[in-house]
């Protein structure tokens, strides 16, 4: 089936070529990092995780959101999602792959990555995260590919694919719960030390990931003539809107607990992110932009006359993704390190090398997604 990815028009190859150039830039950046060490990034002893772990956290959510089409289609027989299921599964594959690449890029000794399997440590959340992420990637690529292959031959999908698909539903929740547990169990990092982190991760994932699915459905409609259908999109918009609401509600509860209790440790990170702390306020405009943009996007999604228009739907989709990317892919990880255990406020700025590696990994993910979707659509459209 993969040969179907080798047939495409000029625009397809131009897009692939662009991604390959970005991947090349990423590899150049990574080779510099391999040669000189992680000191070439903006990370340091105080802010010891940066863009890489932030992107990882955001993308686990994107991966998990496949469940937003898989669950209604397989458990509630929502036929409207028929054309979106494979898109969701392949988006999950590429997102899970990017997650693993970001973890690898963040490691000081990537050549020792297999130590995680050689010395399995169930007390460490990283061990569980590696297990569930790999498992989720496998579940989605195997079941997605097999169902597609059966469709190509015009035969019913083998029955074992059902088992994998059903398993992938709770598995999707597990990947983002475990990712939240990476952060939520660390003492003295008050922004993360909260029981609502896992629920909030799931809510923001289902909002941003579903919004990405809506946007992809528009792209596929325009570039490939593959239309998932108005009904599918409108149903996704509703799911997206309520997931977004849940996310902002949970953020609100965080604010209440921190500021009403008036405990300094609980307030510091929020002060740093939203108001500035001791004169340090580099993220304040971004966090407010994220909050307002996110709420506005949810409002658009909840207003029937607006969400029925494609232009508004696209604008609100982009708005929600951007909002949650800033909140989760920038604020959450960086904000958790401030103030440092020794009560210092240190600002973090990613370097060009770091950003080029990030660009490279995103491009690898997009290339994998492009190829997978090209195959899927060729099969679906009997090309």
């Amino acid at each position: 089936m993969i040969e179907k990815a080798l047939k495409g028009n000029r625009a397809y190859w131009a897009w692939v070529a662009l991604l390959l150039v970005f991947i090349g830039i990423g590899i150049t950046g990574y080779s510099q990092q391999l040669n000189l060490g992680l000191g070439v990034t903006g990370m340091g002893r105080d802010i010891s995780w940066g863009v890489y772990i932030s992107q990882f956290t955001f993308l686990v959510g994107v991966a998990a959101s496949a469940v937003m089409v898989v669950l209604p289609y397989y458990l509630h027989n929502q036929k409207a999602f028929g054309k979106m299921v494979i898109v969701g599964e392949f988006l999950a594959v590429s997102a899970a792959l990017m997650c693993m690449l970001f973890i690898l890029a963040d490691m000081g000794k990537p050549q020792r990555v297999l130590n995680v399997l050689r010395y399995p440590s169930p007390h460490s959340m990283v061990f569980w995260d590696v297990m569930v992420l790999n498992g989720y990637l496998m579940l989605n690529i195997i079941s997605g590919w097999a169902v597609l292959g059966a469709e190509r031959k015009g035969v019913p999908a083998p029955s074992w694919t059902k088992a994998l698909i059903y398993l992938s539903i709770p598995w999707a929740f597990s990947i983002h719960t475990v990712t939240a547990f990476l952060f939520a169990g660390l003492p003295s990092r008050h922004l993360w030390l909260t029981a609502v982190l896992a629920p909030r991760f799931l809510a923001s994932a289902f909002a941003a990931g579903t919004a990405i699915l809506i946007l992809i459905s528009f792209i596929l409609k325009n570039v490939a003539g593959y239309d998932a259908g108005r009904e599918a999109r409108e149903k996704l918009v509703v799911l997206c809107a309520y997931a977004g609401l849940a996310n902002f509600f949970l953020l609100g509860t965080e604010f209440f607990t921190a500021f009403y209790s008036n405990i300094p440790g609980h307030m510091h990170s929020f002060q740093y992110l939203y108001f500035g702390l001791e004169g340090h306020a580099p993220l304040v405009p971004f966090m407010w932009f994220s909050l307002i943009l996110g709420l506005a996007s949810v409002a658009v999604f909840l207003t029937p006359p607006l969400r029925r228009q494609n232009a508004w739907m696209i604008a609100a989709g982009i708005g929600l993704v951007l909002s949650i990317w800033i909140d989760k892919g920038v604020g959450l990880v960086i904000g958790g390190f401030i103030p440092t255990p020794l009560d210092a406020i240190v600002d973090y700025m990613p370097t060009l090398t770091e950003l080029s590696v990030t660009l490279g990994i995103w491009s690898i993910g997009l290339l994998v997604l492009t190829v997978l979707l090209k195959v899927a659509i060729s099969v679906k459209m009997q090309d």
């Binding site: 992680l38 340091g44 002893r45 963040d106 020792r112 990283v126 660390l186 003295s188 020794l342």
Partner: protein, 271 residues
């Protein structure tokens, strides 16, 4: 006949040698395993010589600890820091982002951010206190480590295996004391005077204070304790009620850093 007996004799000799070899190899392997896993304290390769301490604690029941008398610690003196960093080949890059440190001085209110800060005398407010790894009894760092590259030894020391560390820096995010450093760059060019008492590290791994476990093996006190001109640091077994450190803990009002987190630090302070 003669030939046969010599052959038999040779066989017996070889068997004897073989048995000896197997015995030694087996013991070696066990010791190696024990040291690596910290499972068999008696077989650990880095066995601590306890002879210089007054009461010999029971292996497996020792808990090394330190008491820092901040009143005696003189302002501007950094001899313990210099001794530690030289002994352990800790690099100095003179830049705070990539800095590696095992022991350093922090302002009182930064070391104890959750302790009472109101209406104290200028003396306490301006006091600098030594900060280092607390060798917690309930270490969050070892719990977070995905490879057991950092682990708690039988004697309470939280140790590092630099050859196993994958550089994920989870231990750094988990440590509530900022006691861990990552080698953001090759540390060797940053070492001013190379010491042969402790191996250098590579870039990409985490390191921190090891309570001088390499000196304890030789029956020496930690370098910082040994160097302090004011004798402000007391080192000993916290599980031995008759040790000097326990006597001092009994006689003085002391503090631990962030005790509310339940990490049970083994480093105590007299303010």
């Amino acid at each position: 006949m003669l030939e046969l007996s010599s052959v038999a004799h040779g066989d017996a000799e070889m068997n004897q040698q073989r048995r000896e070899f197997l015995k030694k190899a087996g013991l070696g392997a066990l010791a190696g395993l024990g040291a690596a896993a910290g499972l068999f304290p008696a077989l650990a390769l880095e066995k601590t010589d306890l002879s210089i301490f007054p009461e010999k604690p029971m292996p497996g029941k020792t808990r090394w600890g330190m008491l820092i008398d901040t009143r005696k610690c003189s302002e501007g003196c950094t001899q313990c820091i210099a001794a530690c960093h030289h002994t352990h080949n800790v690099p100095d890059f003179g830049n705070s982002k990539n800095q590696v440190k095992w022991i350093w001085k922090s302002p009182y209110e930064k070391a104890f951010p959750t302790a009472s800060q109101q209406f104290q005398g200028d003396d306490v407010k301006s006091r600098k206190v030594l900060t280092l790894c607390n060798h917690c009894t309930e270490p969050p760092c070892t719990r977070a480590c995905p490879t057991e590259a950092t682990f708690k030894r039988w004697d309470g020391i939280v140790s590092m295996d630099y050859h196993r560390c994958i550089g994920c820096r989870f231990c750094m995010a988990a440590c509530p004391y900022g006691s861990r450093s990552f080698n953001w760059q090759d540390p060797r060019p940053g070492i001013r005077e190379l010491s042969d008492t402790y191996p250098t590290r590579e870039r990409g791994v985490v390191e921190k204070c090891n309570f001088c476990s390499e000196r304890l093996v030789d029956g020496q006190l930690p370098a910082c304790v040994d160097t302090c001109p004011e004798k402000a640091l007391t080192f000993g077994d916290l599980n031995d009620p008759k040790s000097e450190i326990r006597t001092m803990l009994h006689a003085n009002e002391t503090m631990q850093r962030k005790p509310e987190l339940g990490t049970l630090p083994s480093v105590f302070y007299i303010i």
